[in-house]
Symmetry: C2
Subunit: 370 residues, 2 copies
Amino acid sequence: MDESLSKGYPWTKQPLVTCAPMRLITLAPLAVSVSQAGGIGFLGAGSDTSTLSSMLDETRNLLASSSSPPLATTDPDVLPIGIGFLLWGASLEQTLDAISKAGNIPAAIWLFAPREQSDLAEWSTSIRTATKNKTKIWIQVCSVAEALSAVDLADPDVLVIQGTDAGGHGASKGAGLITLIPEVMDAVRSSSSSSSSRSSAPQQKQPRQPAFIAAGGITDGRGLASALTLGCTGICLGTRYLASPEANISAGYRNAVLAASDGGTSTIRSGVYDTLRGTTDWPAGYGGRGVVNASYRDFEAGVDWEENKRRYEEALKGEGWDGEAARLTTYAGTGVGLIREVMSAGDITRQVREDGVRLLREAASRLVGL
Amino acid sequence: MDESLSKGYPWTKQPLVTCAPMRLITLAPLAVSVSQAGGIGFLGAGSDTSTLSSMLDETRNLLASSSSPPLATTDPDVLPIGIGFLLWGASLEQTLDAISKAGNIPAAIWLFAPREQSDLAEWSTSIRTATKNKTKIWIQVCSVAEALSAVDLADPDVLVIQGTDAGGHGASKGAGLITLIPEVMDAVRSSSSSSSSRSSAPQQKQPRQPAFIAAGGITDGRGLASALTLGCTGICLGTRYLASPEANISAGYRNAVLAASDGGTSTIRSGVYDTLRGTTDWPAGYGGRGVVNASYRDFEAGVDWEENKRRYEEALKGEGWDGEAARLTTYAGTGVGLIREVMSAGDITRQVREDGVRLLREAASRLVGL
């Protein structure tokens, strides 16, 4: 495993299992449960940082009131959790303010979806300065071009490589992890080694390589084992944690996740649900993957937006999740069909980690004699 | 590895590397080279079976004239290659006629894209009868529903699970292999075990499980290792073999494959190239993934079909592959950016197999201490 990364997170177990910072969904209970199980939970601060301070207060209280022993961090001021931001909406000022309070320094900051790539540099530098490098910078990328730009601009500790199977928001056009991870890793390595060979100072230290975390479609131990063979240090799960009691979603949403199957045909990435919910601020080039339901079918059938929105508003008052009439946003990845039961976030974290290790060993043991 | 499958193909080496039956591209030279390197080459008979007899003649001649020792098959009448069909266009009668000639029995038949699912049953039964079960039946599926239907109707020896990263034709809506393989495998196993438990005859033998082959985005040893951890017996490569001299494509097409990178953004699955080429017979629900070039950009910009076709025809007369002006169909998967050099089909087969084994072992060895 990547030792420099695990050294920075002494409470974690390897291989690293993390929880995606899902906006409005990954709040303190989910993030804390994942970290307490040896993973890293990311609070979904998203695009609205006005409540970040109180999210962090809740997180500290939850950690303090836990009957489990405190989680070891590299510094007493550092919280054993991360925070994820959607840069197109998040305020750097509010963020710096919130994480500067005593005991509020996150172990990781996860940056995604800047309006301009250069925002990645500003956020990274400001946060590193504010936390005296106690916070590691994670950047989520959806393509080779984004990865190279992020490495160049922000020298991230971690690149989260998001494949198109991911639930919720990601690049409208993208590749699955089986091609995206290898191509991103090759490109980043080759770019670092070429900057190194261009250097005229032979004693200059080798450019740093980020660690790689796989995100998008990974749902169980098989996905983890697969990501490890592709060269990643760990994984990020989003959709899988929707089926935990700690996820801040309604029972209807959770049941719709449990009910969906054949995720390649039952989910789709689009802008339809953003439009229906009035979330109009995402930069161009992103879409949210969710379960296809009546709202999407109406869109395809050419029902006009005003009427579709009216039906959506109506659904918000009632159930809106059930069967053929289901209409509410149900963001989920193509792995949704692999999710069949509700488990605690801690159990998910442990089970995926242990299954992944076991399955990778078993796959290697089947090679005996070759 | 899956022993029943490798026993049926005694000339192959494990883990199994196969070459996709690419229509007009995988002819005898490519198929034979792959089999001679210990894989299985599939002739791309596609939708036109009128030339199948002569393809098989050429294949037998190539095998006979080779300086390498003959490849061991289970029966002297069996050819160490497979044949792939697009059922919406292929003629079962012509096929039965061609493979009934002495020495023409293929080791495998690969069925894809039937007009009706029930065609899978007719083809499977007819071919098994005609070859006295010497030919194994491979069926390519793009979803869980297709997999269950194929198993139910045709009891295939092999399910080829095609993820949406694949180049060329596949389901318009689909998932990447990281979710599709596990969900298909779980569903097929659970469907077999429930038919078994419903049986009233306790001595009745356990329903047969197909072997699983991963296709779509696998490009190198990392992809192979990843597919093995997901539970597959082997893999199918398509796009990767485009960069072999044995692939029946123009230098322009091959160079366009070598030049493309960042496949999630530089390729797209659509019906645009089918329309421009006049290939209008595919059933609904399929699209071809290819490199985005001027033809696709014109389509997006709203250029009408007649004018776009005229430009396409014009491009056919000249180069049509170069730089910004490139306009001709360049089917390729999202792994296109991982393909950087031309290698012989035999070397590709051996290198991917050996790298896959090595990388899987290395990934497992990094778990030491966990």
